[in-house]
Structure formats: structure tokens, C-alpha cells
Amino acid sequence: MSKIKTICLLLIVTIFLSGCWSKRELNELAIVSALGIDKVDDEFEVTVQIVVPGEISSKAPTSGRSPVTTNYAKGKTIFEAIRKMTTLSTRKIYFAHTQVVIIGEELAKEGISEALDLISRDHEFRNDFNVIIAHEATAKEVLNILTPIEKVPANKMINSLNTSEKAWGSTISINIDELVSTLSSPETSPILSAIEIKGDATLGMGATNVDKVKTPVVLKYAGLAVFKEDKYIGLLTEEESKSVSFLSDKIQSTIEIIACPKGGTLATEITKSKTKIKGKFENGTPKIDVRIDVEQNVGEVECTINLTSHKSIDYVNKKTEEVIQQQIEKTISTVQQTYRADIFGFGEELHRTDPKKWKKIKDDWPTIFQELPVNVEVHVKTKGLGTMQNSLLNKKKKE
């Protein structure tokens, strides 16, 4: 009996030994919603956007104070900077709820690998936050801007990133895991969405920015940033960004505008898109086939066209195919010529098709990529016309 008692006692003691070592009360934490990393004079400058819970609560805010606050610190490494921040912050900085990491343009141009190491290594960071870069701005400036509707600017950044990805296609949300795995693959170059400040950055800091009906300073997604290895080399336009989304099979819905036979335009809403990329080797030379299956609805008609006939639907289908194909081909050639970075993952696809042949061309890939023939094939099906058949313009003409 005494033996059992001793064992029980020892077991209980072990529980108490571990103690309260990782206990953190909620009101001792500074919840970080966004993290920004810049490079200033060979040092990292880390900016964190901290939520002020009292101002966010659904109850009426106690004062008109800002719902977020930012802290900065500089250091030789990011870790050092974060720890230095404790001298500034009143509470322990807590990163598990970071929603977005912003990388300043300067740092992006120099290479992002070093900066990402800590945030993908540290256990407190989750791996589901998005990484974006600041276009023509520092991360610090972006994080200092207050946004309307969303009290926490980080939420605004995430929400507009996601909604525009879903409905427009010019942004792609890339989370840290995807980014790190793309960076570590030798063939593919990463792309990140870029955010820019419209308006005077210094004005966006105060509450005055959100007091007005027309917000003077806004944060806007500019398009996709192209990286070569881990260095930022250029920004794609919105059109090009959309094509990249098509190629990486991330289009959920977007709009295409086509010309009508008798002048005027017609906008279609793409509801479903499936992209298949197939690589092949023809006599040792690599080739890429892209096949995109698109389903669409007619969204808006600003011309006279009889939509009830098969012929015009065929016309719409064909025209949309052409438009998408042209855009994509143009984008591919721009990327091939200007940036020379394989952001589409063509290399990886070729590797997968024939590893042996890939080995031969592996070392010359950057040069081969520039000349790589890409055959784009688009198939469009029009499923619906919306809630009406022919445009009002049609009727007027008949009368």
C-alpha cells in the first residue's frame, strides 16, 4: 500500500513540477494582427500592428482612440528586433494571430529568404497567414494607415485580398507555407500580391483618415509582384495578374470584356475555370500545352446582339476564348522576355513529365524558359444569360 501511495504521490508531484510556465492571461498579451519587415541601413526594421481590444469591442468604444497601434524596433536580425520591442511595448507581443506579413519594397528587392526564416521557424507563428509586399512603400508606412469599415487594417488587407481573388482574379493569396515551398524549389519563382498606398502616406495615420466619407488615403492591391529566386524584380499589371491567376488555376470568378460584332461591348462573368498544364518533350525540346476550360454567364450587354440564337452564343464563346488566349499569351511572353522568371511552374511540370530529359536541360532552364514554346488552348461554354434574354438596346432598334 505504501508503495502505491509513493508512486501516486510522485505522479502528482510531476504534474506540479511543470508549473505555470507558459501561462499567459489574455490581458497580458499584445495581439499582433500584422507584421511588417523593412530593411533600413543594413538593419531589419520590424513593425507590428497591435490590436487594442478595448477599442475593437462591440460595445461602444470608451474613447475615440485608435483601434490599433504600431510598434517598431530595429535590429541586426528580426528576432533581435522583436525582442527589443519589449522595451517599447507594455505587454508581451503575441504572434499567433498574425494575419498578414508585409515585406517592404527595399527588402524585397534585396531578397526575402532571410526575413522569412524566423516567421516560418518560430512556433508561435501559425502557418496560415498571407505574405504580401508593399509596392513603392515601406511595410511601416502601409501598417500605419487606418482603414474604414474594418477597424483593424490587417483585416482589411486580408479581406480585400481574398475577395478580389475570388471575384476579380488580380490577386493571389499566398500563405507562408506556399511561399517557403516555392522558394525552396529550384525551378519555380514565387509571386506575391503587392499592396500600394494611394494618397499621402503621412496623412493616413490619424483618425482623420477614417472620419471622412471619401477616405483620402487608401490601401489598394496593385497586382502581382514577380520574384526571381527571392528577389523582387517587377510588378505585373492587373490584366497580366489575371492571366497569371488563370495559368495557376486560381481563378474562381472574373470578368472578361469582348467586342460585339456590330460594335459595342459585352461583358461575361466567368463562373468556373479549370486549367491543365501539360509538359512534353519533342525531340528533346521541351514544350508546354495549356488547356483552360471556362464556364461563363453573360453579365452585361452594351450592344445589339440577339442572344437567343445559337450563332451569337457561339460568337460569344469564340470571342471570349480569343480574348483570354491573347491575354495569356501576351503575359507569358512578357514574363519570358522581361522578367525571365518561371513563375508559372512550367519547369516543375516538365520535371514531372520526364525527369531524365529534365536533368539534361535543368542547368540551362533560365535560358530555355525564355524561348519555351507555350501553346494555349481555351474552351469556353456559355451557360446562362442572366435574368433577361436580349438587351434593352435590341428592343429600341426594332421599334
Partner: protein, 502 residues
Amino acid sequence: MKVIKNTLGNSNDIIIREITIGKAEKNTISSEITIGKSEEHAMMMIYIDGLSDKTTISDSVIDKMMQEFEEAQDTDVETIKQYVKETCLTVGDVNDILNFTALYNSILNGDTVILLDGVTTGIVTSTKSAKDRAITEPSTESVIRGPRESFTETLRTNTALIRRKIKSPNLWIKSRVIGEVTKTDVAVMYVNGIANDKIVAEVLSRLDRINIDGILESGYIEDFIQDSKFTIFPTVFNSERPDVIAGELLEGKIAILVDGTPFVLIVPALFTSFLQSAEDYYQHWFISSFVRILRFFGVSLALMAPSLYVAITTFHQEMLPTAMLISIASQREGVPFPAVVEALIMELAFEILREAGLRMPRTIGPAVSIVGTLVIGQAAVEAGIVSAVMVIIVALTAICSFLFPAYGLSNTIRFLRFPLMILAAMLGLFGVMFGLMMIIIHLCSIRTFGVPYLSPFGPLILKDQKDALVLFPRRALLTRPRLISQKNNVRGHKYFSVKKRN
């Protein structure tokens, strides 16, 4: 006569009626009846006022004797006694007693004893009629659909209530008298042929082993007969509803009825029986299954809600969605205590309120609840002593702990919340899991009269799952719980081969 009076302490509720028989003339004094011609024989009747039925005594005992003795001519004492016993008494139950112990027992049970001078044996006539409560609606287990009667404090009424439900000659009752001073009647009821004989024998032997001065409630017996003295989980089920008891008897369980309490014990009691209500069987099986799953969920919530809150908000903030975390954080802003202290204060306050509400006279009850809701619910939050989330958690726990059909388990869960909260505060989710594992290991180790407490889940018995977490339709419930009644397992022999009732 004096001996009897002295033993009973000259209590004034003992009524001793003396009659002299054998005188030739009738006396005019009403209290003395004289019969016969020759010798005088003193005769007396003893009974206790209040325990005996006065009408029976006067109609069937005194009246008869007065009439009969007027005609009787015998002088022999033995003959008179025999005559009295066989001819005079028009009461159902008449017996001989030989010694004083039996005499006291009979008197104290409400019987009337007739003693004749010169005869060594006395006559007992059954005139029991204790003042008892009428059968009312059950107050602790109410149902919407189902019988509206509940047990009373009288043992006989209770056995009759069960007999009325199970009209089978196989419904057997074994009686015991327990308590050296109180001499309480205890009846063990079971359906012969369904109940496990071994368990019946075990119950009876455990009852016989009880050595106590008094039994005032079935809780005394519950404590004596349960297997493990250390567990805080109830291993004996109790109910005040005859239909529940009848249902359990049909499953092969054994009921223990105790005189003086409306709560009847049922053994062996399984964990699942505390989460099953009588009404489950009266409703559509689909709804009952839903309600049962809800109850299991409620049990877990009542047990774990505060500790999970403490663990997540102090150790695992990353588990919450960001928006929720910020909302909780904003409410915790300015709360002076750590989450665990906050939780302990609120849970204790609730337990105090609940206890106060229970013990208060009915008329003051509402006042307590008003003060409770106002002070705890609103003022504490407004004063910033506790956060609003905590109030929600406590309210949730409270409501969940009212979800139990059986009160016994609810108390256990109420108590177990506190150690879990402390574990959560020290070790986070790890501590909660540790505590839960300890509880489950403990539950697995308990046996009640040889039956594993957690069956049919541990050990897993597939056949019995039909009436555990979910309830299958009536026509699929063809077998009785396997571990409880081992001999007569089949409920509907006729359909057993086709596995379904029509």
C-alpha cells in the same frame, strides 16, 4: 402489564384496554366487559394510538368480542383464547406470539395484541394503519408524457404501485428489517426468472450485513451496499417513479424499497442509466435518440466548459479565431483576476446561489434568484470584476447541469468541475485531458454488483448499443442488457428468430 408499560416508557400513546371476563353479571362501566359465569379472567388489548386503525379495532375486535363473549360459556382459559382467535376476531391477519420481543415489534408496527391472563401466548391482530401521504405527482422527475404517480413514504403503498404495473406472479419480494432501533422495513423486489440470482443473493447478503441503529432514508442503505466506498460517481440508481422502477425490474435489475422514503433504489446502476429518462421510452425513438445525444453533450459541457475556457484563454490563445480572441480580450480588459480565479469565483457563487435557492422556504426562493441574477449577472460585469464571457460560461454550465434526468450524477459532475478547473489553470489543455483521462480510467474501474459501470461502452457490447447513446425503435429492442440479466435475455420470444417485432 406493568412490564410492557415500563418498557415503552409509559408513553401516553400506548393504549391498554383491560377487560375482565368470567363475572356473572355485566358491569355497567363501559370499559369493563364481563363475560361468562364462573372465574374471572383478565384480558387486555394493547395498541398504539395513531399507528393502528381505530375503526378496525372498535368494529372488528372490541365489538365482536363484546358480542361473542356474551354468548360464550366456556371457562377454560385456553379454550377462551382459542375461541377468541378463531371465532371472535374478524380481522384478516391473526397470529400467535410467544415472547416479549415479538410483542413489542407487533405493537410498534401498529398491530393490536390481545393478552389473556393465564395463557402464555398472545394474539396479534393486524390493525396497521399509519397516517400516510396521498400519491402525488413526482417532484424530482417530471415528465411531459407518462404516468403522473410517484411513490410515497409507505412501503406497502409503494410495493402495491409496482405490483399494479407488473402483474406477474414472478414479481417477488424479500423482506428485511434493518436498524437496531428504528426497525425499518426494507423490501427487495425483483422479477424471478429475469433478475440474476447471483445479484439477488448478493443484494440480500449485503443488506443482512448492515449493522446500524437507524435507517431513515434509502441513502443510508445506498451507502452501505455500494461496491466502492471511494467513488463519487453514484453506483446505485434511485427514482420516485413507479414506471421507472418497473422498467428497470423488467431489465433484470433489483429494486430496494425502504419504508419511510419515496426514493426506491435500483441496483446494479450503470452510467448510462443516469442519462436516460423514463420519457425516452414513451416518445418516438428518433427524438429520444436526439435528446440522449444532447444529454451526453450536455454532460461533457457541464463538466468541461469552465476548464476549457480557462485553458484556452490562458494557454492556447492560438486556438481561437482571431475575431473571437479580440472580442474576449476586450472583455477581459480591466478584469483584475486571472481567468482561473474569475472562473472559480463565478462557479462558487453559482453553487452558493443554487444551494441557497434549494434550502430557502419556497416563498423566499424568487428573491434569492433575483438577487443572484442581478448581482452576479449584471453588476459584476458592469463593475468589471468578471468578464461577460465568464458569465455566459457559468450560465451554460449551470443549464447543462440541469439537463440530467437523475440528480445523483449531476452532483458528481458539479463537484468534478473544480479539480478540472485547477488542472486547466496549471497545465492548460494538457491538464484538462489528464483530468478527463483520470475520470475515465476511474469510471472503467468501477463495478456495481459485479457489472462494469461503463457498460455497454466499456466493455463494448454491440447488442446493448441499441439502448445506450441512442435509442433504437421498440421493435428492435429484443434483448435485455446482457451483463445484468444473464438468464432470460429475450424480451419477445415470439419474434426473436426474425429479429424484429412486427
